[in-house]
Symmetry: C2
Subunit: 431 residues, 2 copies
């Protein structure tokens, strides 16, 4: 493995995990009541490892309890992998490495000196399990009082699925039966936001709030501001634009629109109201939110809040006639803007390419097909209801989009194109 | 006028032209057989000055001969304005200005020293009329042999409309009756490509071909390569993807797909086949082509081939692990990449905002509404057939998109946000 580029090794590693999950899901013990073909098992395995949550078959009836445990394990692994890798990248960015060091920068080495990887991973795992335990506890009581059967397993499954922003659900209609259940939706939202924000930002924030540190790092600040603003704008947008929400009481309307905006932006992908019956404008808004996505240090997908912030800051600088791009007075280095530019453009290229191929294969309206492509690439898992009707070829395309979305399009591209002789500056990948 | 920012003056100037055109089109002498309201006259005037070609009413039956002359004059003025301004920008870019000069750079001054503006504008006007005359001559013979009535006026109107990439037509179904007429479509295509490429690039190319100069400038080379490749890719894409083209003979299929790709990319917006009956995948491809658009020195709209090239080159550099972005070995300065980044992002923001508002106002499928928005912002004029069904508010939105698309979104933004105290570096606007 020594001569394989670290990014290629990463790709191969994920392919291995998906392959392992596929084999396990194909086992007789994993099967539920329905007949599920091998392509659908591959789809489920990829959707779980990529924490997307798109499903061609119903998770609760197509898989046995053992099968569901396999899916949850794949989700958990995908989620922790996401967060540790993302955090490493952010840690590396918060620190200027000496030039000599940069030149030999490699995946595992671009970390602050004296940084204890084992220690860090242990903290991430502890953080994950602690939050998931609390979430499961809360969901257990909420589910039980809502009369849900098998509340313990349901609580564990949905807590992990929410924190890892996977959005897999054992209920046949995601969380639609809880559309007015404040506690279920709030707990799921808190889990999703924690997971999508990630350990590093959370610990930075808590360190600052508890007075351990003077203030949060610039990256944390950007992530928190961008995530907050995007959720608020999406929330208000969905509140105003979705006609079916007008039949709800004011409280339920606030809850429904807030949950759905949170769901698209954290890329968790649960739905508390029916997405296929949404009107055009809110569907388009959801589509945009799915493309924008979550934060680089967390479990979510999409373009990432840091890239989006860099893009907006660049536009703002240009409009104000400034020659440099700044956040709160801190100038963003040119090479990082270039990387943000590349990430955004490459993401859009992959989205357009995947969308175009799907449009050739699927008969559904363009909006629904592009929604599916954006959902897969952003590892969101919301759907206009066409996932079950995908042709075999389309399933392969969606599988590829989920996989690329999981790795991150620009990282995927770098893994394909980078020669061994040109080590990457990993610090830039998170932009 | 001395204290108004040049870009604001530009905005006001175009608004004035549109207002003048509006008044002229409202006059009794301009009316044709139908009843046209003042909002539709404003729509026509904006569509003509912005050389878009979207029409809420039929040009040939709603306007008298005098009205058609007014429309043609607005198109001609919009087209020449486009090309002269675009050329000034490109001229300025091909030359590094001294730093002190840069700081006082203003619209009219960012030109090579000793540059004769009057001489240049005269050349552009001569070039325009010469090509339009030749085009009209060719179209006259082509129309006459096709049995078109009033062939002289039709030839003049369509020649000017093609060269200015306006796409206005006096035929009720654009050029659909000529879908297999090689000469009509070829002449229109040559006119559109000449106009969209622009005087500066054409003269640079001819200067090089005739041996007057060693080689074309870097900008010309980028524009020619980008335009060529985009048309070829679009051509092949439409050839393969549009199902209705499969009923055509091979020659006609090549002609139809080539013409439609050219039409979207030069943003002329004529159609020789019916766009509303296109399948999903080719519609999406057309949508993308309309967003990409033409060249900064010509009469077309869209994101411009230079911005698109900069974006692709940046991605390529990142994927290859290079720290700088180059074209044929020439490094692109960082501030120009930043400007390209801003242009692309701001264009997409305006497109999304306009699309979202239109989706709130229009009941048609999302694809058709977004197609209309992209067509308006790119000043293309292709439509899925919803232009006539736009609500009054939607018409205002489309008018705004055409106007912004005409000025160029980033230029529009600069005009709004730039204070007088911060002069712009006009050289960058063309990226
Ligand atoms: K998800
Ligand atoms: K046009």
């Amino acid at each position: 493995m020594k001569h394989i580029h670290p990014l290629k090794a990463l790709l191969i590693g994920y392919l291995g995990y998906i392959g392992l999950g596929w084999i396990l899901l194909c086992l007789p013990w994993s099967q539920g009541s329905g007949q599920v073909g091998p392509l659908d098992h591959l789809f489920t395995a990829t959707s779980a490892v990529s924490t997307t949550g798109l499903a061609t078959v119903g998770t609760s009836n197509s898989y046995s309890f053992f099968g569901q445990i396999v899916i949850l394990a794949l989700i958990q692994m995908g989620g922790i992998g996401y967060m540790t890798l993302g955090s490493f990248i952010l840690l590396a960015r918060n620190r200027e490495l000496p030039a000599a060091r940069k030149n030999v920068a490699r995946w595992a080495f671009v970390l602050p000196e004296g940084f204890n990887v084992v220690h860090f991973v242990r903290n991430v795992v502890l953080f994950t399990f602690a939050i998931e335990f609390l979430g499961a506890l809360g969901l257990f009581f909420a589910f039980r009082s809502a009369g849900v059967e098998n509340a313990i397993w349901q609580a564990i499954f949905h807590s992990v699925s929410a924190f890892c922003t996977a959005g897999f659900s054992l209920f046949p209609d995601s969380l639609e039966q809880f559309s007015t259940n404040f506690w279920v939706l709030s707990i799921v939202a808190m889990l999703s936001v924690s997971g999508a924000t990630g350990f590093l930002v959370m610990s930075d924030l808590f360190g600052s709030l508890s007075g351990k540190r003077d203030r949060v790092t610039l990256t944390t600040r950007i992530i928190l501001h961008a995530t907050g603003w995007m959720i608020v704008v999406g929330w208000i947008g969905l509140f105003l634009l979705e006609p079916s929400y007008r039949n709800l009481s004011n409280e339920d309307r606030v809850l429904a629109s807030g949950f759905q905006a949170m769901s698209a932006l954290t890329t968790v992908g649960f739905n508390s109201t029916s997405i296929p019956t949404f009107a055009h404008a809110p569907v388009f808004l959801l589509l945009l939110m799915m493309i924008l996505g979550a934060s680089p240090s967390g479990t979510g997908g999409g373009l990432k809040s840091t890239s989006v912030s860099a893009a907006l800051a660049t536009v703002w600088s240009t409009l104000k006639g400034r020659s440099n791009v700044t956040f709160w007075g801190c100038e963003v280095p040119a090479h990082r803007l270039t990387m943000a530019f590349s990430s955004v453009v490459f993401y859009v290229i992959i989205f357009f390419a995947g969308g175009l191929v799907l449009l050739c294969l699927q008969p559904e309206p363009m909006a629904d097909v592009l929604f599916e492509a954006a959902s897969a690439l952003g590892t969101v898992g919301l759907s206009r209801g066409i996932t079950g009707d995908l042709t075999p070829l389309s399933k392969f395309v969606v599988i590829a989009l989920m996989f690329i979305g999981r790795i991150g399009p620009i990282t995927f591209g770098l893994a394909l194109f980078s020669g061994e002789s040109k080590p990457l500056e990993m610090e830039d990948l998170a932009v």
